[in-house]
Amino acid sequence: MVENTPSPLPERAISGFVLFLGSQFGFFLYCLWAFVPEEWLHSVGLTYWPQKYWALAVPIYLLVALMICFVLLFGVNMNNTAPLDSIDNITDVYARGQRNDDCRKGGIPPIKDVSLKADYWFN
C-alpha cells in the first residue's frame, strides 16, 4: 500500500541530506574555480574553462531575472483577470450545467449557485 503523506520519512530525509551535501560541495567547487588564478588552472591542465567574467555575471543575471519574474508574474495575473464586461464574472460552463429540479421530497437541496438578484438590498 503506497502512503501519500507529506510527513517526514526516512527516504526523504536521506535524499534531502544528499542534496544538501551535494549543493554545498558544488558551491565549494564553484568558489574554487572562481578564486584560483588562471595560470594555476592552466598548469594543472584545465585550459578550456569559461572566463572569470562569468563568475560574477551569472549570479547577477539570475538575480535580475528573479526580480523581473516577480513583476512579470504580477503583470501576467492582472492581464489574465477577466474584464468587467466579461461573462466569466457572472457564470461559467459548470454553473450553467446545474439543474434546478433535483430536490427529493423532504431532503436537503443540492448545492446550487445563488442568483445575482439580491433581495437583501431591500431593507
Partner: protein
C-alpha cells in the same frame, strides 16, 4: 433630485442625480468632478520645464516646439476622448434602457438596449486591477432563450461609484423593472 456625498472607488467625490420623469421612467446621472485648472497647470509646466531642460543640453529648438505641440494635442485628445463629464442611465419601463456618457468636450455617446434583451440589472463584484469593486451591470439575454445570460454591459464605467450610490440606483431600477 438628491445630492449626497458619494465617492468613487478611489475616493474622489462624485454626485448622483435621480430624476423621475414619470411613474415608469427614471433617469440617473453620475457626474465626475471637472478638470481642475491646477492639475492642467502642473502638467503643462512640468512638460515644458523638462523640454526646456532637454533644450538646454542639446541646443535643439525643435524640442521646444515639439513640447508645445504635444501638450496641445494631448490636452485636446484628453478632453475629447478620455475625460468623462457625466454618465446617465435612463430606464423606461417595458421599453428599454439608455446608457449615455458625455465627455468634457461636449461629445456624447449613447447606447439603447431594448427590454426584450434585458434579463436583469444587478450589482456584481469583480476583481479590478488590485482590488475588488462593486459595479452595476445589465445582464443581457437572447430573446429566444429566456434563461441564459448572453453578455454583460457594465454601467458607470468611468466614474466607478461606490456601493451606497449603486444601491440607490439598483433599488430604483428594480422598482421599474419589476412593474413591467
Amino acid at each position: 433630485m438628491e445630492d449626497e456625498a458619494f465617492t468613487d472607488i478611489n475616493g474622489k467625490s462624485i454626485s448622483l442625480d435621480c430624476h423621475s420623469h414619470s411613474g415608469l421612467c427614471r433617469e440617473f446621472t453620475v457626474s465626475s468632478p471637472k478638470v481642475s485648472i491646477g492639475k492642467v497647470m502642473v502638467y503643462t509646466c512640468s512638460v515644458w520645464l523638462s523640454a526646456y531642460a532637454v533644450f538646454f543640453f542639446t541646443e535643439n529648438t525643435a524640442v521646444l516646439s515639439c513640447a508645445i505641440f504635444v501638450t496641445l494635442v494631448g490636452m485636446m485628445l484628453h478632453i475629447h476622448f478620455v475625460k468623462v463629464d457625466h454618465e446617465s442611465l435612463l430606464v423606461i419601463g417595458s421599453l428599454g434602457i439608455q446608457v449615455s456618457s458625455s465627455y468634457a468636450s461636449g461629445r456624447e455617446t449613447t447606447t439603447f438596449i431594448e427590454m426584450g434583451k434585458i434579463k436583469d440589472i444587478v450589482i456584481n463584484e469583480a476583481i479590478y486591477m488590485h482590488q475588488i469593486i462593486y459595479y452595476l451591470c445589465v445582464l443581457l439575454k437572447d430573446p429566444s432563450e429566456a434563461d441564459a445570460v448572453s453578455s454583460v454591459v457594465p454601467l458607470f464605467q468611468s466614474s466607478k461609484p461606490r456601493l451606497n450610490c449603486l444601491v440607490k440606483v439598483y433599488k430604483s431600477c428594480q422598482e421599474i423593472l419589476s412593474k413591467c
